[in-house]
Symmetry: C2
Subunit: 143 residues, 2 copies
């Protein structure tokens, strides 16, 4: 999660909403680390989780991340939650809860839907304070 | 939608679940056309809609597809529905309904959630029969 927070800080420095994600294999190898970059990439799908999933899948040469865990500083949105499910991620660790845009504990609660065919184990609130503060500072500076 | 069905047929021929998507600008210009290719790309996020959104955004140099319409042969999943919302797509036309994995009229019903901040106008069931038959034929051949 420390590495994911570092990616979030780099995203903030680049003017992106500070969210970072890291994917770790069952053996503890870091397969991918990414920060949010929809603005720089002109890509609304360039959330940290999606970038990390695509990078890890490319590295493994597989569309599935069996036995891999994903760490992200913010509760994933529905887009990222669905991608996490499709990739068969084993465990999802997230930092801050996101009542406005979250798709795991809020809104669509993707993993609890009958249309969800793989749900990871979910551990929320990990390093929540630091993840939230990064976001608060970012938006405070922009107001 | 004809073009989207053509993309779905090409996807089937390549061994991918036959779904195709096309994005059209307000002026009627085709900005992107893509078929499903998670297997070939080793990328669980490589759904037709996501590929088309990324291609159209790259073409416009923008993370938003203001006044653009998206045609897709199957009801989008939650991942794609959320991406459609983030891209601010104006109208979503889809073919077959997807009770097992759909995220628009089924399961998460993404656009109806309080966490959804832009909902396109949705027109479902367009060329539904042909879109469904493509999918049925594809899965029948694999059983």
């Amino acid at each position: 999660m420390e590495l994911a927070l570092g990616e979030a800080e780099k995203a903030a420095a680049a003017g992106e909403v500070p969210v970072g994600a890291v994917i770790v294999s069952a053996e503890g190898e870091i397969l991918a680390a990414a920060g949010n970059r929809p603005r720089a990439a002109n890509d609304p799908t360039a959330h940290a989780e999606l970038l990390a999933i695509r990078e890890a899948c490319a590295k493994l040469g597989s569309e599935r991340l069996i036995d891999c865990d994903l760490y992200v500083t913010l509760e994933p949105c529905a887009m990222c939650a669905a991608a996490i499910s499709f990739a068969r991620v084993r465990r999802l660790y997230f930092g801050a809860y996101d009542p406005k845009g979250g798709g795991v504990e809020h809104g669509p609660r993707f993993f609890a839907q009958p249309t969800c065919h793989h749900a990871p184990e979910v551990i929320g609130g990990l390093n929540e304070t630091r993840a939230s503060e990064l976001l608060k500072d970012f938006f405070a500076e922009r107001r």
